[in-house]
Amino acid sequence: MLVWSRSGRLVLWLLFALIFGVLFLAPLAVILLSSLSDQWNGVLPNGLTTEHYTDVIRGSAWNSVKASLITGFLASALALVSGTWAALSLRLQGHALKRLLGLLFFIPSAVPSVSVGLGLLVAFSHPPLLLNGTVAIVMIAHFVLISAFTFGNVSAGLARLSPDFEQVASSLGARPAYRLWHVTLPLLAPYLVAAFGLSFALSMGELGATVMVYPPGWVTLPVSIFSLTDRGDIFAGAALTMILVAATLVLLLGLERVTARATGS
């Protein structure tokens, strides 16, 4: 414990509550209240209603939820496979090559997502790679943006994995594929689930690249929210935001339970 006095701890707790409340809770609370507001002209809403939720669900909201969930799942799954593959492969390379390729993997996360979207749009607008206007280009955009995070998570998990497990498995006669399937991947499971969860959450909230490349009929939740708020329909945008938060939370909590069950914690 860094602070021993009761008053010192109280001050720290108040400071934490202030930062957490202002930076994290207040924006979410405002969005929640907006989504339930009849009208909002003063400090607090004039009245509460669920009408905005009814409106967005009756409208195209469900299609957006579906588009976001499918995009998030597929892009995250693809990123998980390739990120895990890359992390496992790079582990076997020399230090210099490992560092260089590891850095290259992280470059897309340092580029503005709008630029990534623009780049994909230009790259895939001519035959033979004509993906402009397809769902695939949305998947690719999300994959490019989130794969660095899956790679980072899996690499961190591998770094913590004692080589003894795999070496003992090999000495007992396990061939590389058997060892990977029965030892390495199960031991990495918590990191794989965490990587998938993070990728999914990032994908669910991705706007910059998606807005550049999305085709008609594949409007993700963030794009719908942006459109609604851009048109001045703040309350409907807030309702859709809360649906996005709820969908993401449900999935992340589910993943957490799976991890807890798998690791016995």
Partner: protein, 381 residues
């Protein structure tokens, strides 16, 4: 499980006969290992006979674990060949070498139950289901863990986990069992019990060849048929355990394998027909077991602390006098530190005179010629 339960594991003897390791010899033929320009194992030539326990001991960075990992296939020799039995395994991947391996932190697979851990190697090799069941049962019975088959590793103590790790290695009936500091993570009491258990295990599996890497001389002395002492990537001595302890060939071996008092002496009369030489330490003439020393040679007379006595008898015919500096009582043993003409000399005694002399008093020490050996003074290898 309590320490008492460890020592009382008579179940080890019951089914052990069913697990007969087909031991093979291991031959290092000028094996060297280097990381870039840094040589960690200089050309090593060494044999481990079938059914033998060879302990490799040495300080950290001496190359002992590298030698073990070369046998296991996790380190590729820069030169030389390794043979197990008649097979040259130098270019074989680890999973084709037919070994069992136990490491310091057990490395039990945490997502598998004890029985699945033990079955792992057999399943990986595609063994028949009935055979797997039988071997798992036998291996667990051998290490006294049959009743823990359904537990997960996290539900076991350190000692129990290490027993399961040994069972897992035995279940595949390895040609050679590699033990890499297997007891280092255990506390002192359990470690002592486990050393006895491994010794008992080997008595019940006499055909099993074991390469045992440790930095603990007690484990090596208790278990090994032969010991190889490593230093700076080289074997500085290798031989039968009792021989190395009683007649260490050099100063490093004498001081690393147990405690040793080394008195500088000059040979007065070379080794006679009975194998003894006489040597002069200052004005004192001492008799010592020797090898091929000649009159005038400078030597070190090696005498273990427990072989020095404060009382004379017909066997303890050598006498030196030292000034008592320190007394350390440790229950079973009392350690005395004396100064003999500028050389610190340690005495470990189980019995001491009722009236122990005070520090600063001159004390005579007696020892038997048969308990001594002579080392060349320049052999500080």
């Amino acid at each position: 499980m309590s320490a008492a339960a460890f020592t009382g594991a008579s179940v080890m003897d019951i089914d052990a006969a069913k697990i007969r390791g087909v031991g093979s010899n291991v031959h290092f033929d000028k094996v060297s290992v280097a990381y870039g320009a840094h040589v960690v194992l200089h050309p090593l030539t060494l044999d481990i006979a079938p059914g033998e326990i060879l302990a490799m001991i040495g300080p950290s960075g001496s190359g002992k674990t590298t030698a073990l990992r070369a046998v296991a296939g996790f380190v590729r020799p820069a030169s030389g060949r390794i043979r197990i039995g008649a097979t040259d395994v130098t270019d074989l991947p680890p999973y084709e070498r037919g070994l069992g391996m136990v490491v310091q932190n057990y490395a039990l697979f945490p997502h598998m139950r004890v029985e699945d851990n033990v079955a792992f190697g057999l399943r990986a090799q595609g063994a028949d289901k009935a055979l797997i069941g039988e071997r798992v049962k036998d291996a667990l019975a051998t290490v006294g863990m049959a009743t823990f088959a359904r537990r997960y590793p996290r539900e076991l103590s350190g000692g129990q986990q290490q027993r399961v790790a040994i069972a897992r290695a035995l279940a595949v009936r390895p040609r050679v069992l590699l033990l890499d500091e297997p007891l280092s993570a255990l506390d002192a009491q359990i470690r002592r019990n486990m050393v006895e258990e491994i010794a008992r295990l080997h008595r019940s599996l006499p055909g099993l060849t074991i390469l045992y890497v440790t930095h603990d001389q007690t484990e090596a002395l208790t278990l090994a048929d032969k010991i190889a002492i490593m230093r700076d990537g080289r074997v500085c001595s290798h031989g039968p355990t009792t021989e190395l302890y009683r007649r260490p060939p050099n100063r490093f071996t004498a001081e690393f394998l147990g405690r040793a008092n080394l008195l500088p002496v000059t040979i007065a009369e070379g080794v006679g027909s009975k194998g003894f030489a006489t040597a002069r330490h200052g004005d004192v003439i001492l008799t010592s077991a020797g090898r091929d020393e000649k009159a005038g040679d400078k030597s070190l007379l090696c005498i273990r602390p427990q072989h020095l006595s404060l009382t004379a008898d017909s066997e303890h015919t050598n006498r030196i006098v030292g000034t008592l500096r320190e007394v350390h009582w440790q229950g079973e043993l009392t350690h005395l530190v004396l100064d003999v003409d500028g050389t610190p000399v340690r005495v470990s005694a189980t019995k001491l005179p009722m009236a122990l002399p005070e520090p600063g008093v001159k004390v005579p020490l007696y020892f038997a010629p048969a308990d001594t050996s002579l080392l060349p003074e320049d052999a500080g290898v």
